[in-house]
Symmetry: C2
Subunit: 354 residues, 2 copies
């Protein structure tokens, strides 16, 4: 760790922020009013409403069997990776570049029949069998399109009113409808790497548990943003139809019928956080040790307000034969006011330090 | 003007801010709801409500005669300066330090009977007589204590319900009572220098007109903040009682019976903005030319929301025999959230650049 200068403005910023703000998330027992919510938006401060969605149809009825009945063999977009890290900084090697370099790896995406996707998710993996095998784990699958998928591939669930199409207090406070409503279905093997979005996010846990690690925009200098070359996981040896049951058999690495990481040619560098708050010694910047991550686990029926521009890393746990399901509501953030230009400023100053 | 580097983060911040935010103030026809107000607080964006206080008792009854009747010879605190700049960067010279240096000059403060204070304010000054004289102008007086004076020396006006004790939509939105309610009484000769406060401010014009120049916190690097030595105007030749009618006769400068600027011994340096948006070439920083000041004139009955941490310079105009009267409501700002630490950061980075 490099030494910081005594009056380093970036260190002072992170320290000041933490002195003025708790790193323990605020917990509400009931949903806020629009005005109460707007106060949190103004403070750009997260909160969780325990049981806020406990009376939603979805949190009571969305079992694997219900969903299979409901959506059947509809094709849905699935992100496929060897170890569960879609859209994540990943070490890349190849015969021609044997020194590992960090690249930004996008998942392999393919359409799969919804019911066989759920079957795959709920089939215990070889490494969880007893005795454990050393067989390479099968691929990890995650339905995680963030393209307003509840108005497209999963529309029947919304039309059936299993979930509301907006969150009343957020809609009234922000005076707009959500820009996207997204369904997330996966299992305990998927992790979403630390990143941030330009959205006000109301995240609702429906089944299984989600573990969030949250960092405010003021901590930008700690996340080790770097420009990473883009790469994508590619399925070798044909697409899913040819493989039959859709179980896949591949693994990341250099070849075979599994998944192979392929560098994108001529693409732009992707600026992305490389620090992982759960492995704080790796890829740390001189400021990472000042950052106090906020952690919260959502149980089914809990709602999280994740303010715009907060970094978040998300992992999940669910029973071996179960799935994790969540719905999030993305409301456009307000680019007027000081937060966006000031956050960009923090980023420019932080990146110039490097 | 120094040349800026191509990717100067400070220049980028000011430019980004202005690209995303209008420099023309938003005008409302009626008072906002608490929720609508909270949206402006969240955006840290000013607005004016034209005629928002037109039905206040004060905007209809507060004439000079009414106020004289009402408060009579009560003693009130008055700020006295030679040219109208209380609490302002001022050039200081003395026989022992003949090179002018910029100091932070506080007014001479003294208690005066309210009715003779008003008589002084409404007596045309020699320089406005015809033909103009070269006689040094008499001193400038301004009742401008910012110590919640409507709950102290001017309490009878509040008790009489000429003005409300809080602004309902601000009280509900911010979930607190004002920390201070202040009355400002002066004439066209007083100017309040560019500065900022850690308060959410609702400013209500009662009589005369006020001209605000406003700069957002993101423009900090343009205001030329410097550490100035403290100084205070001191009345030479005795206090007001001895002078009889309270007209005064002094002028700034090195002596006589008038006002003299005296350096404070051993005091701390006062960090203060030295750039004046109305004289943009003087004391400019390399960033001042990027700043787009927002200007608004308040007429009697208008209300201004002046968000916390915005720089403001305030001047006033009123008929030669009239006074300018305003009331402002200061609500504690929220130090949690990103605005305060990020503004401090902008300031640290800006000051390190110097
Ligand atoms: O649930 C996840 O895996 C990630 C959620 C997320 O990144 C988001 O809601 O913005
Ligand atoms: O009215 C004035 O002269 C100055 C007002 C001011 O600075 C304030 O309201 O904070």
């Amino acid at each position: 760790m490099e030494d910081l200068e005594p009056n380093d403005p970036i260190a002072e910023l992170i320290t000041n922020y933490h002195e003025l703000n708790s790193s323990i998330i605020e917990e509400l027992d009931e949903e806020p009013s629009a005005l109460e919510f707007m106060r949190y938006v103004a403070r750009n401060t997260p909160f969780v409403v325990r049981g806020g969605a406990a009376d939603w149809q979805a949190t009571r009825t969305w079992t694997v069997d219900y969903l299979k009945d409901f959506l059947g063999d509809e094709l849905v977009n699935v992100a496929v990776t060897p170890t569960g890290n879609a859209d994540a900084p990943t070490l890349y090697t190849s015969p021609t570049s044997p020194t590992p370099t960090l690249v930004f790896a996008k998942p392999h995406e393919e359409d799969q029949p919804f019911s066989s996707f759920l079957t795959y998710l709920t089939t215990p993996t070889p490494t969880t069998t007893n005795p454990p095998t050393t067989t390479p784990s099968p691929e990890v699958r995650y339905a995680q399109t963030q393209n307003n998928n509840l108005h497209h591939e999963y529309l029947p669930l919304l039309s059936h009113r299993d979930i509301p199409s907006s969150i009343p207090w957020a809609r009234v406070a922000l005076a707009r409808d959500p820009d996207a409503v997204n369904l997330w279905i996966g299992n305990g093997r998927s992790v979403t790497a630390l990143h941030r979005d330009n959205y006000e996010n109301v995240y609702v846990q429906v089944a299984g548990r989600k573990h969030f690690v949250l960092l405010p925009p003021a901590c930008q200098a700690g996340v080790g943003e770097r420009g990473l070359r883009g790469a994508v996981w590619v399925r070798r040896g044909g697409d899913l139809e040819k493989e039959g049951d859709g179980d896949g058999d591949g693994e990341g690495g250099g070849g075979g019928g599994g998944l192979e990481l392929v560098l994108e040619e001529g693409g732009e560098m992707v600026p992305f956080a490389t620090w992982d708050p759960d492995r704080p010694e790796e890829n740390a910047t001189p400021y990472s040790h000042l950052v106090q991550p906020m952690r919260v686990t959502l149980e089914p029926g809990d709602m999280l307000y994740l303010p715009c521009m907060w970094y978040h890393k998300v992992s999940q746990s669910c029973p071996p034969d179960g799935v994790c399901i969540a719905v999030n509501y993305w409301y456009d953030m307000d680019f007027t006011g000081p937060l966006y230009p000031l956050s960009t400023f923090v980023r420019s100053v932080s990146n110039q330090k490097k």
